[in-house]
C-alpha cells in the first residue's frame, strides 16, 4: 500500500508513505541543516497519533511549515489506506 501527497513547490513538501517491514523516515530538505530534527519529530508524532507502524516515509521538503508537513502526511496516509 502506498500514498503520496503534496508537491515539490516552494514552501510545500512531497510525502510518500509505503508499507514496509519496519518504520523508516527519510528526509531530504532544503532546510534540513536547521530543521531536520523538527521535521523528523513532526512525522514521528503524526504516525504515532495515527497508530501507524511499519511504513517507509520519504519527505522531499522545500521549506514547508510544520502544519503543511503534518497535513501532507495525513493526506498521504488517507491515500495509502485507500490504496488496497
Amino acid at each position: 500500500m502506498k500514498g503520496v501527497a503534496g508537491s515539490k513547490e516552494s514552501n510545500d513538501c512531497l510525502i510518500t508513505i509505503e508499507s514496509s517491514n519496519e518504520t523508516k523516515i527519510e528526509i531530504n530538505s532544503i532546510v534540513g541543516a536547521f530543521f531536520y530534527d523538527q521535521i523528523y519529530s513532526t512525522i514521528e508524532n503524526t504516525l504515532k497519533n495515527e497508530n501507524i507502524t511499519d511504513v517507509h516515509v520519504i519527505v522531499e521538503d522545500k521549506g514547508a511549515l510544520d502544519y503543511t508537513i503534518k497535513s501532507r502526511l495525513l493526506t498521504a496516509i488517507e491515500r495509502m489506506r485507500e490504496d488496497v
Binding site: 501527497a5 503534496g6 513547490e9 510544520d66 503543511t68 495525513l74
Partner: protein, 282 residues
Amino acid sequence: MFRSLLFIPGNNPSMIQNADIFMADGIIFDLEDAVSISEKNNARNLIKHYLDNSSVLPKQVVLRVNSFGSEWFIKDLEILKTKKVNYLLVPKLDYESLNTISSFLSDFEEKEKLEETKIIALVETAKGITEMSLFAQNNRLMGVLLGAEDLTNDLEIKRTETSLEIFYARSQVIYFCRANNLIAIDTPYTDINNIDGLKTDCKYAYGLGMKAKAAIHPNQLEIINDIFSPTKEEIEWAKAIIKLSEENPEKGAFQYRGKMIDKPIIERAKKIIQKAEIFNLL
C-alpha cells in the same frame, strides 16, 4: 464589514502561509474551483491544520466550500470545528439549497457544540438571482457575493469589459443587500494585468452601490481598498457634518457650505465615519 476579500487556492501553502500579510480585509480559502478533484482532501487537510496551528490569522476568515450535494461538502464542514472560520461562502446558492444547508448546519453545530455559522451567499445562477428576495428570511446570511463568471455561463452569454451584461444582477444584489442590511460584494475582476480596467470596474461597481469586491490576485487589493474606502474629503465632510449636528441638536435641518443638511445626510456622515474607523482611516 470589509472592502476586499482575496481568494486563495486551498492547496497552495505559499499563499496560505502569507494570508495574514496581504492587504485584504478578509481571505477566502477556496476548496471549490481552485482545487482539482484529486486534491480536495489535500486542500482540506492543509486549511484545517493551517487554521488550527497558525498563531496569526487574517482579519476575517471565509471558507468557500464545495457545493451542497457534492461528495466533498460535508467533509469540508469539518473545518468549522477549528472555530476559526468567520463565514462560510456557499457556491451556487438558491433558496432551496440555502434552507437545506441551514438546517444541516444547525444539526452539525448542535452536535459539535459550535456557534451559529454565518453564510455569504455566492449567487452565480439565474435561479439564485431571481430567488434572492426569499433569502432574507434566513438569519445566517450576512452578505451576497455575485459570481459573474458562472452567471454568464448559466445565461450563455459572454463576459465583456463593459459588464453591461451583469448590470441587472449587480443591481439585484445591491438592492437586496441594502434592504436587508447585508454586505453586497462585487464579482472579481478577472483580467489580472489590466490595472486601468480594474479601477474602472471598481469605480462603476462602487458607484452602483456595491460595498466590497472580491479579488483573485494580491495586486488587486490596494486599488479595491482605495476605491471602496471613504475618501479624505468625504471623511472631513462627515466630521464637519457630525460636529455641526452635535452643536445644534435642536435643529432638524441646517446649512453647510450652502447645502441643506438633514437627518438622511447626517446618517450618511455617521456611516462614513464608522467605515473610516473600522478601516483605520481616521
